[in-house]
Amino acid sequence: MTKEECKQVVLEIIEEIAPDEDLEGLSHDVRLRDQLDLDSMDFLDIVMELRKKHGIEVPEEDYPKLASLDSCAEYLTPKFNAVKAGA
């Protein structure tokens, strides 16, 4: 999985949990919560969907690494690839 593909997966999750948000034109290097109406419960939804749909565990201490799309890709892409390799 490339970092761009990883961002697409994250965007699909956000689209599902925040269906009223317009995801066009998001800046990839700006915090998602500064651009979208996401609260802490929504953020936990992202963590839950990663676990449920993709088997990826994000420990609480790593939550800041999901701040922006760029940081998500940086942190999650190796995890996606590890899960893929493990399978």
């Binding site: 949990i17 925040a18 269906p19 009223d20 948000e21 419960m41 929504d42 936990l44 939804d45 839950m48 676990r51 449920k52």
Partner: protein, 418 residues
Amino acid sequence: MSKETEAQRIVITGCGLTSPLGDDLATMRAALLRAEASIENIEMRHMGTVHAGVCHFDARRWQGRRELRNGTRAGSVAIYCAREAVADSGIDWDSVEKPRVGVYLGITEHGNVETENEIHNISQFDYDTRYWTHHHNPRTVANNPAGEVTLNMGITGPHYTIGAACAAGNAGIIQALWMLRLGEVDLALAGGVSESIHTFGIFAGFKSQGALARHDDPNKASRPFDKGRNGIVVSEGGAVYTMERLTDARARGAKIYGEVVGYHINSDAVDAVLPNAERQTQCMGAALAKAGLTAADVDIVNTHATSTPQGDIQECKAVRAVFPAESCPRTRVNNTKSYIGHAMGAAGALELAGNLPSFDDGIVHPTINVDDLDPECDTGNLVLNEPARADDGVRIILNNSFGMLGINSSLVVKRFAD
């Protein structure tokens, strides 16, 4: 009349509802006068096909998609009804002092739907609780439906639900009456809501109890007072009223649906599920006494009767004791569950809505599906299968709502007159 006394008079000035018969009062009333039931067959997890009263309101009218995804069905019902009630009341919502608004909603139960869904969810993950949603607690706290209303509408006054089994709809209205009389709030959004058709546990519980209705035609399954009745049809729904002190309602020239003039709540203290005619009799009598009325003054008695063999007989016994046909010539007895099933926590408030238009049209809707009247349910003044016109009009409604653990509630509402 002094201002102080007028401030103790509490009136209903707006109505928002969703029911299996429709999502506004006029639509519901029209179906009642056509004597048309609206019960569906639905597929229920672990149970197969069951009869249910289903609401089809447009939840997106007042809620965003994310709000709907995060909230509960009861919350959604409550928001729809509260918003519609305010719209119906003609209140200028933007200018309302939000700390002076109270939300008081009756519920039979809350949290079963979400808990069942989560157990089903983690069963797909070998019961690993890491997959249990973080939304569980805010969705299942008992104040959830009322709290969702405050979040949606920006209300900063008090909110809570009143857990009173199937007497809860009346209890919500009674709570509002108290809070308005005490001066705690200036506007109350009060009534009852139910999401019960989304939990298999309610259906399975009634089935195990031998109290779940079944019939080849779902629209004939809820048939209070008929010899062939065999149990309850579970329904969802809600009714929320705007309630105000008469002084405030007058000041803004509000339409007044009716004045809540009497009420009572008591307990059987006998059995968890079996009703008790003696306490029901006392409850109705006490409500009339608080209203300063006699039984002969009452035009319509809305029965709670749920179509169970035992429950209907007990209530009819109580109604006969309070309203003997020979000494109460004005009184007509009807039932709304024969159309919509049992809307649980919403029942009392929703059934009151069904009868309120009779103040204007002078018609008493019948209880339907009575092909073979059970003599033990014959109160002598039942309106059966066809609407009845009240020759002198309808002035007083007594609304019964009873529930498990032996809770009884009776509400007396009067056509508004100076």
